[in-house]
Symmetry: C2
Subunit: 221 residues, 2 copies
DNA sequence: CGCGATTTTGACGGCACTCAAGCGCCGTGG
DNA sequence: CCACGGCGCTTGAGTGCCGTCAAAATCGCG
């Protein structure tokens, strides 16, 4: 997963990864308030992170797939600030953070890589802020689908056909919309023959026109 | 600024800070696309960061004051992903990032501190995402004012009376609202005697009721 | 097959956006 | 000194997008 490291470095890093953990669908990887010890690298599966509001409802802050790193938000307070929940059976590697810091002192490229990952998360969040702050419902959904498409492609899956792991409500929570609005936006894009929707199965028929829907060129990572 | 370092460490860090830079009101600290060399610690003043959209309009991603660190987003691509513009005459310390990484290898507490700062930025962004995704105009403005209030308090200024450095349009851009909506929300809070608004001068008369306006307890940092 | 969860679709209403007018402040120039 | 014009701010009226409420359809699963 960590790009830009040589074999030796990867091996050293491998020693840090204390053990793997399986989380079945619906299970928690960590909860808000629980103490922070480790980062988690996703080996397989699909997770969401969400913060709970006082009234019980939840806001999804991200969807995460293979190769991504979870728990970065917890470094600051040494307490997790969100829940991480598996949307399908998943497998993660636990990376004790203290060890990671220690080892990264001897491997500059690893440290640099780690810093880039944190920075990329900040850039990603800015992209989402842009989306939430200035896009309409249809633009948000287009942006979301294109983002998923790109991430599937990077992992060797089809960029034009994939299964959503999350519900309309979770998509809506992430995009700052109600589930009905998400559903309507799906239907609208389908009416225009840009995508084909069959419940959770999405097929992108015209990726160029989908990109046009999202006036903005910035693509959330 | 950096909390949690001892005197010796602070001195070492001081050596890293190559030189100070003054930016006058309206001036750029850095621009989108310019190459990344250094982080910037704000010594004094007030800056905004914003990303430009293709259509020329801009979305403000943050307001930044004394003691805060700018440029974290640029680490990932080694290119700045946003503009940083001074909203009043400001002074920053330039911190060459390569040097910071190098030195942090010998001072674990500095490295840890840096990681916490990056992590806090991620948490902050999640707070903004929550705000943009689920709050109404008045709640957003209340949240914004309380955030400013707290940050002024932390710096030894009054928490109940301060000057806004930014325009209504910039506030709106940050909060995902149009300037007219921001203005109306100010007026409404004033009508309820919760705040007193005199152009850029804000006085918080009833901080408890202002907190109530923002149903959510999460406070963006 | 039957139930609950999820999704779709429709009708309606409200909040925020758009368009527009007017005010106050301030720097410039007559 | 004062008139003028630009800019930022406020306020009003009307519109439209999206949230709310509701009902029906479909899916998933035992």
């Amino acid at each position: 997963m960590p790009v830009g490291l040589n074999d030796q470095e990867i091996q050293v890093l491998g020693d840090v990864v204390s053990h793997k953990r399986k989380i079945q669908r619906g299970g928690y990887l960590h909860r808000t308030g629980s103490s922070f010890q480790s980062l988690f690298a996703i080996r397989s599966g699909f997770l969401k992170t969400c913060v709970l509001e006082e009234d019980g409802r939840q806001q999804v802050t991200g969807f995460h797939m293979t190769g991504e790193l979870l728990g970065l938000d917890a470094i600051s307070t040494e307490t997790h600030t969100c829940d991480a929940i598996a949307l399908e059976d998943s497998e993660v590697c636990e990376i004790p953070f203290a060890k990671l810091e220690e080892i990264s002192r001897t491997i500059p490229s690893l440290m640099r890589h780690f810093h880039k990952i944190m920075s990329r998360e900040i850039v990603r969040d800015h992209g989402v802020m842009l989306l939430l702050g200035s896009m309409k419902a249809e633009e948000r959904l287009a942006s979301f689908l294109l983002n998923l498409s790109r991430r599937f492609l990077m992992r060797g899956y089809s960029e034009s056909e994939f299964n959503l792991r999350m519900t309309r409500e979770e998509i809506g929570s992430y995009l700052g919309l109600k589930l009905e609005t998400v559903s309507r936006a799906f239907s609208k894009l389908q009416d225009e023959n840009i995508i084909t929707v069959d419940n959770k199965r999405i097929q992108i028929n015209d990726i160029a026109r989908l990109r046009l829907k999202m006036g903005n060129s910035s693509c959330i990572t």
